[in-house]
Symmetry: C2
Subunit: 348 residues, 2 copies
Amino acid sequence: MPMINAYAAQSETSDLAPLDIARREPRPNDIAIDIEYCGVCHSDLHAARNDWGGTTYPIVPGHEIIGRISAVGSAVSRFKVGDRVGVGCMVDSCQSCSPCEQGLEQYCEKGMTGTYDSKLPDGSLTYGGYSKHVVVREEFVLRIPEGMDPAGAAPLLCAGITTYSPLRHWQVGPGKKVGIVGLGGLGHMGVKIAAAMGAEVTLFTTSPGKAEDARRLGASQVVISKERDQMKAVRGQFDLILNTVAAPHKLDPYLQALKLDGTMVMVGLPDEPHPPAGMGNLIMKRRSLAGSLIGGISETQEMLDFCAENKIVSDIEMIAMAEINTAYERMLKSDVKYRFVIDMATLG
Amino acid sequence: MPMINAYAAQSETSDLAPLDIARREPRPNDIAIDIEYCGVCHSDLHAARNDWGGTTYPIVPGHEIIGRISAVGSAVSRFKVGDRVGVGCMVDSCQSCSPCEQGLEQYCEKGMTGTYDSKLPDGSLTYGGYSKHVVVREEFVLRIPEGMDPAGAAPLLCAGITTYSPLRHWQVGPGKKVGIVGLGGLGHMGVKIAAAMGAEVTLFTTSPGKAEDARRLGASQVVISKERDQMKAVRGQFDLILNTVAAPHKLDPYLQALKLDGTMVMVGLPDEPHPPAGMGNLIMKRRSLAGSLIGGISETQEMLDFCAENKIVSDIEMIAMAEINTAYERMLKSDVKYRFVIDMATLG
């Protein structure tokens, strides 16, 4: 098996550092990709530091991968060498359960295989995109539309689809009032995508300093969520609230902001539980609190095409591979607008 | 104004006792009803004892009212003297907001007027069905189908509609797997109605002793919710879980019992919050936690007609008015199968 350069954490307390890893030779339905860019997701940091438990070391994070195809297996029909492609959070699933058959591989009943720190059917561990090269079965490879900025496209593969999928599933469009909670990697994509879908978008943030940016990204209203009066003023207004904040926080003020039959969708997994939500806020207007996990592969392609049509990519800050540990520290302070992307040419 | 006999609590610590109350003379769109039966709802007890705060005394509880029309106002067209009718949890609403126009008076934007301990537009307080007589505007009066047992019908007006409405809203029918949590006043109606809708019904209960009854009422499966193995065995199985238990309890084992895109609907308001639910259980299968409040007036009529067609009434234990305080104590111990109904002939 070819050995390639990567960046890995060797334990939950160690910084990421160079490591040589093995990638398999392409099988008939595999695609080999030379990685150009890889986005830096908050999950990368959580997994590297074992915040959720269960991390296997060494871990090579990275599931917002953009690159060019360097080789294709003999059975591959939809891609050719030189194509620019992407790989998101998944690299395999059973392909035969009911969710997989509906194109909802993220909810595969046998468990989807994550792009890193996950087990492939043959028992081998997956290593992610903080590396020069990756081999992925054709079904999990996305086509990057012509003309889309490849570095800005990388975060679409996690932050983009994680917000696009619930916005589509809960039928956001013209005439709908949508709230986005938090203006980070996910939130800034949520604002852009919901606005492009034609909804009236409100950003909820604790930081008054983010108001101007939110408007630039497509929000027509900004609510400072720490201000009780501002939260009170928007009670009963929203069809859908997409909550991208993983840090534990009170859900009730947001539930109260929903109209009759409104839904708040959570996409972030907190380390500690959110304070308990009041059932009265659900009962009194038949509201729902829901969750959503990334999106299926065909929906991810649909999202990429939608973003290309609407000239949407992520706002990014490009870093060199060696800057990843500093980037993690800055990410912990929300000091990034709005996603770090690693230029993989900087990894020797 | 005519004075009539009723039973009232004078403070949060006092027993219910006889009290003469005033009822208005019927206005043109009013219906005057001689009360035959009144169901005893857990909310009656909570309100009488000010468990939720905000009770105004004296309070006359009772919102599961069955009786015969004794007089109709000059503008009443749909009812006549002698008709058997019912009154549920509401006696008024604005009739012009968007929810009211959709027949969802329970979600009236100006707040519906409850059958007791609530304010009418003219500022007067409402007194409920623990009384000989009530006057209600025509729009909030339900027709009791011919041949339906009137005492058994009383609990349909709260327990019945509170379970019927979410079962209909979340589209329960043949091919759907439905869980009902708790076999009390609400739960036993939920089992009967969901089974009559054609669903495959599972009862979740902490009491193994209720299994036989649950099967008699229409459940095809009983899961003892204290038994971890039993809860584990039903993971990922249910389209809808209707949770009728108001006492604080862990929601996660029930969320885990839902399939992809499944919903758990809460209809009980706990005094203290339930322990916080894990967002992962929502995210990993795009599940929802929702709430639902009684049902609209036209839907309540639909429910009564559905119950008549399917020969469904509540299982009741008839009591005399003077037994109400003992009944409350027994209700606190869940010692009733499954709803007390007051025979109003026993109130002098």
